[in-house]
Point group: C2
Chain length 320, copies 2
């Protein structure tokens, strides 16, 4: 394995007292609704509002570069910006001009320099590389990096420990998947700590590259032109490192529609009193739709982030 459980454990040490050990939420109503025991790892309650701070801080703390640059639709952006600020390192973040406003503003508020680009006509990696070359900054990649995967894996580590502490034996876990860093790290930790657990990736319809790649046994990209509410999960194809891990560790890949994502956001609002962004709600949607059969089982669900503009959230609530 190119990343080991020991790397996740090392990341947990680096993050101790810095990242939030987010709560594992359980709702009587949600359990009743699904006929299962559903345990939701609440990363919207993480610093910067998503799990991305974990991998970012783990990486910046381990490398201690003189400056950092990152490209991101917004959650990795804020994670890197806060990590850099805590370690007193200048940060430049390359973000799509149409990223959610709360993510653009949140990144700027954390003291990072934000460079926006057009997702349709410009190449964010080229812009990031140019900044790196010009300023000597180290690129903090969003997912395809061992330190990033190990940091995100602390979500799975905590999930396993918190479930065990309340006497729950996890049978399956659903985790969202963009480039695959979060789920690769989670799967490393979960399969190490919970014998027999089945870890499933969940992606938005039209961006189910990991599901199709798992089925094909090799990395496949998404067909260009698809649309999704899930701004955080639009990576074009699985990462090289993340797919090497995920192809060995995952039980399979699922996909959910925008309508199903919106329904999951409404349910999290009502029964968990948690704000979950579209990309953060796909794992819950997979459970609610029965895409993953859950009745009578104990299921872990990672809600990965809660950075969603008020306008969109209000619209999702109104569409009920």
């Amino acid at each position: 394995m190119p990343v080991q459980f020991a790397d996740v454990a090392a990341a947990a040490e680096r993050l101790r007292g810095v990242a939030t050990a987010t709560p594992l939420l359980e709702s009587d109503a949600l359990n009743e609704l699904t006929g299962a025991r559903i345990l939701v790892k609440a990363e919207p309650l993480q610093r910067t509002g998503s799990f991305k701070f974990r991998g970012a801080y783990n990486t910046v703390m381990a490398l201690r570069p003189r400056a950092v640059v990152a490209f991101s639709s917004g959650n990795h952006a804020q994670g890197v910006a806060l990590a850099a600020r805590l370690l007193d390192i200048p940060a430049t973040i390359v973000m799509p001009a149409d990223a959610p406003r709360t993510k653009l503003e949140g990144t700027r508020a954390l003291g990072a320099e934000v460079i926006t680009y057009d997702r349709r006509t410009e190449d964010r990696e080229a812009i990031g590389s140019e900044v790196a070359a010009r300023t000597g900054a180290t690129v903090i990649r969003p997912y395809d990096d061992p330190l990033i995967v190990a940091g995100q894996g602390t979500v799975g580590l905590e999930l396993a420990e918190q479930a065990a502490a309340r006497g729950a034996v996890l049978e399956a876990v659903t985790v969202c998947c963009g480039g695959g860093g979060l789920i690769a790290g989670c799967a490393l930790a979960l399969t190490h700590l919970v014998p027999g657990v089945a870890v499933h990736s969940v992606e938005p319809t039209g961006f189910d590259d990991t599901a199709r790649s798992l089925a094909a046994g090799r990395r496949l990209g998404n067909t260009p032109g698809a649309q999704s509410l899930c701004d955080a999960l639009l990576a074009p194809m699985p990462g090289e490192l993340t797919f090497a891990l995920n192809s060995r560790l995952l039980a399979g890949g699922l996909a959910v529609t925008d309508d199903e994502v919106a329904a999951a956001m409404r349910l999290a609002f009502r029964h968990l009193r948690l704000v979950v962004e579209p990309g953060g709600a796909v794992a819950l949607a997979a459970v609610l739709t029965g895409r993953l059969p859950v009745r009578g089982r104990t299921i872990g669900v990672v809600a990965s982030g809660g950075n969603v503009d008020a306008e969109l959230f209000a619209q999702v609530l109104a569409d009920a």
Copy 2:
């Protein structure tokens, strides 16, 4: 004191493993915005979505009646309904017909029999007494009861312990106040555990009976006819027991407007990713408005509940 710290500690024992030890949330953005360290006790993440389950379970568990009846605008209703269900006791709940739909549905979903009444023309206590007389059920009062106060006080107990565990010394705490049960219990626990802490009640404008009663040194009622977004905080005057405690334990009373409450709900949405209902947001509003000066200080804030209809929440978000 008619209720002692030992009663709160006994309630904590009864609630162990049953109630959720809700997390104490902290937001970099919120700290920056206020220039303070703000620690938010997140009772929307409690079972049934508010602190009310604590007092209800403590009371029903201690008394073990053959049946229970309660009157409530919705949070106490759900708390009593779940407590009764967990202990296999039939529950009848008297609720205003115009209570938030999520609260009416939530109470019914927990297996309670719901009787609705008209807040303007009918007397809920009379209806509750009639049910009690007819069915032999024990009335579980919403606030003016030692077991209820002790149960709600576990919020303050946990807040004190969680703050101490992260090295924070609480200088002041804001807590919402309807009938005064939550704040009385919290003040008992906090003043016992945190030397010198100042506990402030926060009420909606027009329903600031506790603030005026504290200033006058005797129980004063609200002027009939006032309106407020805060459906959970409309008690007509301080309870006898709760005021006996609060008049000795509180540092003072504050009030906030509906607009300030809505702004606090939006801020909790954005920076805490937490759904907070209007009545649950007054304590945060007091801090954000500077009604309580906080700059440079460490402040505890109790967010007491998150049961708000999607329509109202969407409207609050849209009004930004």
